[in-house]
């Protein structure tokens, strides 16, 4: 059994997704119960489905100094990092602690493979076109190379790429490094952008819904793919007003590459790890942001785990009806949503869910509710059976 951990403090955070640019736009769209999903207009021969697209990336090239890293995913990262003054706060932390004492932990599932896809579509005599012959954008660490250059951190810098659990797991990585005194702070970034690989890839597995995704609804037909950039600055230093990460749990299903363990064994182990490290019981949890992708299997298994482990007082919902499934960015986007939930007492409903699957427990919130939320969890599960649950507590309380 893992031991209880000391919390780490989240002193800045932001998100950019189909809901909008920054925290205020996310809160507004959540309050309005207005989906950010739209008809797929992404690729040249688009599949019939909905997507969660960040508008305007095409008109926002990277600053000249970063031209070597130009690609959709890094554009989305740069758009996202400038929201809510995050870039300034990250740079201030680097100045305060020293570049050596700040880790840069990034997460993505497909990184900038969109640029590699484009190179293959425009091969010249079998070679990459000149303007895409740039090594840093054709490798999984593209996002990390770009941000490490732009921010100038000198602490450990790595990309975690465990599919859809990626950007939840970097919170655990940060907590371990801070606990051991390796660094005093970590800048966390989760960025995934629309690309052919994920649209046609999930389509090949028959996991893409033809209409906007309907998490936990009996008629759900699969995911809607979205894109997002989420950022968090985490620090060891006690700050009474900041929300905090109080627990995390990671596990492997050891079952199948692309379907969850039928009894949710890995999901249960991740949940138990998070509760144990936080030193809390399931009854202490006020809200859970579910993985809730709207695939038949994920929602069935996750609903079973939640209804067995929690009583009716705990509220739970999936926000993928707003954002789509933002894959490697989902963990941090939904962590940011948990922080909004705790700050504003707004529990988002499960948008597009009208007839909940009978396996769902009484925890599932269908429409928005208001409540005092002190402890919130988020679930992230990925291909390869990679699971992560995070536990957050609001600021000003123990």
């Amino acid at each position: 059994m893992p031991e209880t951990i000391d919390p780490i403090y989240i002193t800045a955070h932001t998100a950019t997704s189909a809901l909008g640019h920054g925290l205020a736009e996310h809160l507004e769209v959540l309050r309005m119960e207005r989906s950010g999903l739209r008809e797929n207009d992404f690729s040249r021969e688009p599949l019939t489905c909905a997507i969660g697209r960040v508008i305007g990336l095409e008109q926002r090239p990277l600053p000249e100094a970063y031209a070597a890293y130009e690609c959709r995913n890094n554009r989305l990262a740069w758009l996202g990092i400038e929201a809510d003054g995050f870039l300034d706060q990250a740079r201030a932390a680097i100045g305060r602690y020293g570049a050596d004492r700040v880790a840069l932990l990034v997460a993505t599932s497909t990184s900038s493979i969109g640029a590699t896809e484009e190179a293959y579509a425009r091969l010249e005599d079998g070679h990459f076109p000149e303007n895409l012959r740039r090594s840093p954008i054709h490798t999984p660490h593209s996002l990390g190379i770009f941000l490490e250059h732009a921010l100038g951190t000198r602490g450990p810098c790595l990309t975690t790429a465990t599919a859809c659990s990626s950007s939840a797991k970097i919170f655990a990585t940060a907590e371990r490094m801070i606990r051991l005194g390796i660094v005093d702070a970590a800048i966390l970034a989760g960025v995934d952008s629309l690309c052919g690989s994920v649209l046609f890839g999930f389509n090949s597995l028959e996991l893409v819904a033809p209409e906007p995704c309907r998490p936990f609804d009996v008629r759900r037909r699969g995911i809607s793919i979205g894109e997002a950039a989420g950022f968090a600055l985490v620090e060891r230093e006690v700050s009474k007003t900041s929300p905090k990460l109080i627990g995390w749990g990671e596990s492997s299903d050891a079952h199948h590459m692309s379907t969850p363990h039928p009894e949710g064994l890995g999901a249960r182990l991740a949940l138990e790890g998070a509760l144990t490290r936080a030193g809390i019981a399931a009854t202490d949890v006020d809200y859970i942001n579910l993985h809730g992708t709207a695939t038949t299997k994920n929602d069935e298994v996750e609903a079973g785990v939640v209804s067995a482990a929690f009583n009716a007082r705990t509220r739970a919902s999936s926000t993928k009806g707003w954002s789509g499934h933002t894959l490697g960015a989902a963990g941090i986007l939904e962590s940011v949503i948990c922080l909004l939930v705790m700050e504003h007492g707004l529990i988002p409903g499960t948008l597009n869910c009208e007839q909940p699957d009978p396996v769902c427990g009484p925890q599932l919130a269908l429409r928005n509710e208001s409540a005092d939320v002190r402890i919130a969890l988020t679930n992230s599960f990925g291909f390869g059976g990679s699971n992560c649950t995070l536990a957050f507590a609001c600021g000003g309380r123990s």
Binding site: P140, G155, L158, D253
Partner: protein, 267 residues
């Protein structure tokens, strides 16, 4: 400001490269005592069931082979070990398949190749084969992947006081991807590392600390060729050469755009 040192004990090592099927052979080769075995051309890990050994991508075979070797060498049960899988570029053969299919016939993409395209595919196959429910991560840090992955494994081992399996590998890179991500051979190394107190440490790791590296070790021709043709070989062979020599040694590896990892080999 320098960071505190992380001490780890290496409990087991796995190795695979063409001609060199395990660490015992590679260690002898690095000492100049053994030649490559030309019959060793493809990894074939027993840990995978026969059907998967036939179908699984080369990167998966490579990672599972070295991971299983390191576990066996350590005497630890594979089903309880947390793991860190690391690759510079991931599976470029699948990246090439995905991108060329998307360019021609996107609706014909293979679902199995798609789920094999995730960076954590080898970790997924490994945890399934080993019946392991422990935490597993899959990382990259470009040309610093090995140093950063070793450091991350050491962080995990010390944070939770548990042994951790590290598997680092790169498969080869097909054309035209090899113009931007060159790799013309396949290579994998794995270690089981555990937290260590002063006197039992095999390695002492320091991030960005000023260290005075020992004179670099001579790599026999076969290993110099590996380092020239595979990014993970280039990143990890300096440490493996020091371990093979079984003499105290200090190395400094690139660990980021402006960062280094100091490694004191204490054996």
């Amino acid at each position: 400001m320098s960071m505190s040192a992380l001490d780890i004990r290496i409990e087991g090592i796995g190795f695979w490269a063409p001609g060199w099927p395990n660490w015992q052979a590679a260690r002898a080769g690095l000492r100049g005592d053994l030649q490559a075995d030309p019959a060793v051309i493809k990894p074939s890990p027993d840990v995978l069931v026969a059907a998967e050994r036939r179908r699984a991508p080369l990167a998966v075979l490579l990672a599972c082979d070295v991971a299983a070797q390191a576990c066996a060498d350590s005497g630890r049960n594979a089903d309880t070990l947390a793991s860190v899988f690391a690759s510079t570029h991931g599976d470029l053969v699948i990246t090439d398949y995905m991108c060329s299919t998307l360019a021609i016939a996107p609706r014909e993409l293979s679902p199995i190749k798609f789920h094999n395209s995730v960076h954590n595919a080898p970790a997924g196959y490994w945890t399934i084969a080993a019946h392991c429910h422990a935490a597993s991560t899959s990382i990259s840090s470009w040309h610093s992947t090995f140093a950063v992955a070793l450091f991350e494994a050491a962080v995990q081992a010390n944070a939770d006081q548990l042994p951790v399996l590290l598997a680092a590998y790169d498969a080869d890179s097909p054309s035209p991807l090899n113009e931007v991500s060159p790799a013309s051979s396949i290579y994998g190394v794995a270690m089981v590392v555990a937290p260590a107190r002063d006197h039992e440490a095999s390695l002492r790791l320091r991030f960005n600390a000023p260290v005075r590296p020992s004179a670099s070790m001579h790599l026999p021709r076969a290993f110099a060729d590996m380092a020239g043709s595979n990014p993970m070989a280039a990143q990890s062979l300096p440490l493996l050469a020091a371990l093979a020599s079984a003499r105290p040694h200090i190395l400094q590896l690139n660990a980021g755009l402006q960062s280094t990892l100091g490694i004191e080999v204490c054996t």
